[in-house]
Symmetry: C2
Subunit: 134 residues, 2 copies
DNA sequence: TTGCTTGCAAAGGGTTTGCATAGGA
DNA sequence: TCCTATGCAAACCCTTTGCAAGCAA
């Protein structure tokens, strides 16, 4: 794959793999600077994109922002509408959806994504607390 | 709902309702200018957002861009990975997904979205044509 | 008249790119 | 050495905002 090794790329990959939180580029950048204070946001973006292009990680679009996922298996996501947190949804992927979509349209089907949205536990308790003050 | 009438808003709404194509703000802007040459992109955005906030249309995020949908019923979408076209997917919505997600997580579930991706008929034939020339 | 709506221009957030330098193989 | 990867700054795209003027109620 002709990808040379670099300290920056190693750190970016380690960071994406360090969390289940599907981090944004900016989160990876902030964390990376703690180890490589001179790393630039452009380098973080280039490495995230490159790693995704090589299939080492996966890029997911959520609420209009790119997030990066080290879990390469097919799975669904759940997003908190309040804080934006994106998590894995441990459900089995619906295999029939794609054949149904193929029959229902003239598209050549390549895949599908499911994003459930709701309030994460933290934002639920934050909400409950603020309601008590009204 | 305290929404005053305006020619600009009428045109924006008419345009979103004129197509099943889930247009972007920029598409609406280009079309609107044919009828109101002095309309600004900011006005188009303000009206699209306002109409979505009032529940007259719906905003959908697709491939990192906002698109606007006059179909208020719950339904799934299909996106062409090549040209970005977003269409409706005429499949019944999976009601069990949300209860399963509720059981599998500690989120308070509010809804879910499904986007199937593939190649639309136009991009398929474009692809086939270009392969013949190789 | 009142105050919502507009056009314009500028700013904003996230992401990408040009370029000279640094640094793996 | 050769060529990829980097840091920096500027550019880019999409979207939002401040403001004075316009216009519906």
């Amino acid at each position: 794959m002709s990808m040379r090794q670099s300290r920056q790329r190693d750190v970016v990959l380690e960071l994406v793999r360090s969390t289940m939180d599907h981090p944004t580029a900016n989160w990876v950048y902030r964390q990376a600077r703690r180890r490589l204070p001179r790393i630039s946001l452009a380098t973080v973006y280039r490495n995230l994109k490159r790693l995704a292009a090589e299939g080492v990680i996966r890029e997911v679009q959520s609420a209009g922002q790119a997030r990066f996922d080290c879990n390469l298996g097919r799975h669904y996501h759940i997003r908190c509408v309040s804080c934006g947190r994106l998590g894995d949804l441990p459900l089995s992927v619906d295999a029939r959806l794609e054949e149904q979509a193929g029959r229902a349209t003239s598209y050549r089907i390549l895949g599908h994504e499911v994003e459930v949205h709701g309030l994460c536990p933290l934002c639920q308790s934050r909400d409950d607390a603020s309601h008590q003050n009204q």
